[in-house]
């Protein structure tokens, strides 16, 4: 039997969840003995591949690009895991929601900085009106809250996922 295909993606988040994943340390050897990492910031693939078994999604959905990517990932993934508070609740990226994207861009590029300029209009994806958690835009199978979820929690969840089970994360993780 072929090894399960594992992917990770990084939407609007701080990469802390990926750091926590790397904190699995020596346990990473076990993970890669049991699964093939086919896509993510840690590997060199350019296109998100077909037929992925498990994808860990870090980050909230903030831009048109995030939205496009998470939909693609969902279409190509059997089990989608919302990894960390940004993916689960929108968390820190969502803190712009009370203000709206225009006010944020204005503050970030004009009023709030010295040497003010205009917000970039090319080469960067447009912001969505509202930052959303992943499950607000595509179905999610497993939730792993935490900022970040600890390496132990991630290890436990991956262990069960690679064993073909949906982990019960209610007793594993908590917000913050």
């Amino acid at each position: 039997m072929a090894k399960p295909r594992l992917a990770t993606i990084w939407l609007d988040g701080c990469s802390g969840c990926h750091m926590s994943f790397l904190d699995l340390d020596e346990r990473l050897f076990d993970v890669f003995a049991r699964a093939e990492l086919v896509y993510g910031p840690l590997v060199d693939a350019k296109e998100f591949p077909e037929d992925v078994d498990v994808t860990l999604v870090e980050g909230a959905v903030s831009t048109e690009d995030d939205l496009r990517r998470v939909r693609e990932v969902r279409a190509k993934t059997k089990i989608l895991v919302s990894l960390g508070d940004c993916a689960v609740t929108a968390n820190v990226p969502g803190m712009r929601n009370p203000l709206g994207p225009k006010a944020i861009l204005e503050t970030a590029y004009a009023s709030g900085v010295t040497g003010a300029s205009a917000a970039p209009s090319e080469w960067v994806p447009a912001l969505l009106e509202r930052v959303q958690p992943v499950h607000a835009v595509v179905p999610v199978d497993v939730y792993l809250p935490g900022c970040p979820p600890s390496a132990d929690v991630i290890a436990e969840a991956i262990d069960q996922l690679l064993a073909g089970q949906l982990p019960d994360t209610a007793h594993l993780a908590s917000f913050g």
Binding site: S82, D85, V88, T89, A90, N91, V92, G94, M95, N97, P98, L99, R130, P133, H135, A136, V140, Y143, L144, P145, C147, T169, A170, H171, A173, S174, F175, G176
Partner: protein, 234 residues
């Protein structure tokens, strides 16, 4: 005061007449989740987390405001009650902007603990993301309304224990906010004694002491045991 015997979750327990179900349950080591309740303050029955089933009652009753009665049969946990409690926590998380990651009360927060205890991993309801406002005008304290759950512990501790009645609630529905005086900035409040009790009793990071970083906010709560002791004496 007479002794009342009743059954809670199948255990025979005894309490005093006039005592609440919540109080008797806790004396017997039976946990019931609460948020607005605080030993030593009056009860408001507002958070509805302590709802329990009482045999013969048409609907669940708030354990904090329901007095024990002879032969009462109480069930503190059912699938239905757990579902209600989870929905209440979800409503609170989505009502304002509770971002644990950047909160001074992270890991010392009763709301966060309740979510964990009830096994909540996410929220289906959309976050409402209001701009609830922050008042940092006080020299030592601040309030971030984005983290307020309107439990009114601050209002009650200030009126009932400190006797200043600096705090109250203004507005209603989703516009309701705790306020100092006439909505005066806290730092300019003529009635506030800066005693800090409100900060001590706040279950979340809404009321905080300045100069503390994320997750440093609430480790020490010296007033809370005092309030409990005061309540026991009376």
């Amino acid at each position: 005061m007479s002794v009342v015997t009743l059954v809670i979750d199948g255990h025979d327990v005894a309490g005093q007449s006039g005592q609440s179900i919540l109080s008797v349950a806790r004396e017997h080591g039976i946990a019931i989740p609460t948020l607005c309740h605080l030993d030593g303050l009056s009860e408001v029955g507002a958070c509805r987390l302590c709802m329990v089933e009482v045999r013969g009652a048409r609907r669940p009753l708030a354990a904090c405001v329901t007095e024990v009665q002879e032969h009462m049969e109480v069930t503190t946990t059912t699938d239905e009650l757990t579902d209600y409690r989870r929905q209440i926590i979800e409503l609170l998380f989505t009502e304002r902007n509770h971002v644990c990651a950047v909160c001074i009360a992270n890991r010392h927060c009763e709301l966060q603990d309740l979510a964990k205890a009830l096994g909540m991993t996410h929220f289906d309801l959309p976050a409402l993301n209001p701009s609830a406002g922050v008042d940092a005008s006080h020299e030592r304290f601040g309030i971030d309304h984005n983290r307020c759950v309107l439990c009114t512990r601050c209002v009650r501790v200030c009126a009932e224990i400190e006797g200043a009645h600096t705090w109250d609630v203004r507005g209603r529905a989703s516009e309701a906010r705790v306020i100092t005086d006439l909505g005066t900035p806290w730092g300019e409040s003529p009635t506030c004694t800066s005693c800090g009790k409100c900060v001590q009793v706040c279950p979340t990071g809404a009321l905080f002491e300045k100069g503390r970083a994320v997750a440093e906010g609430k480790e020490r709560r010296p007033y809370v045991p005092f309030l409990v002791a005061r309540n026991r004496r009376s």
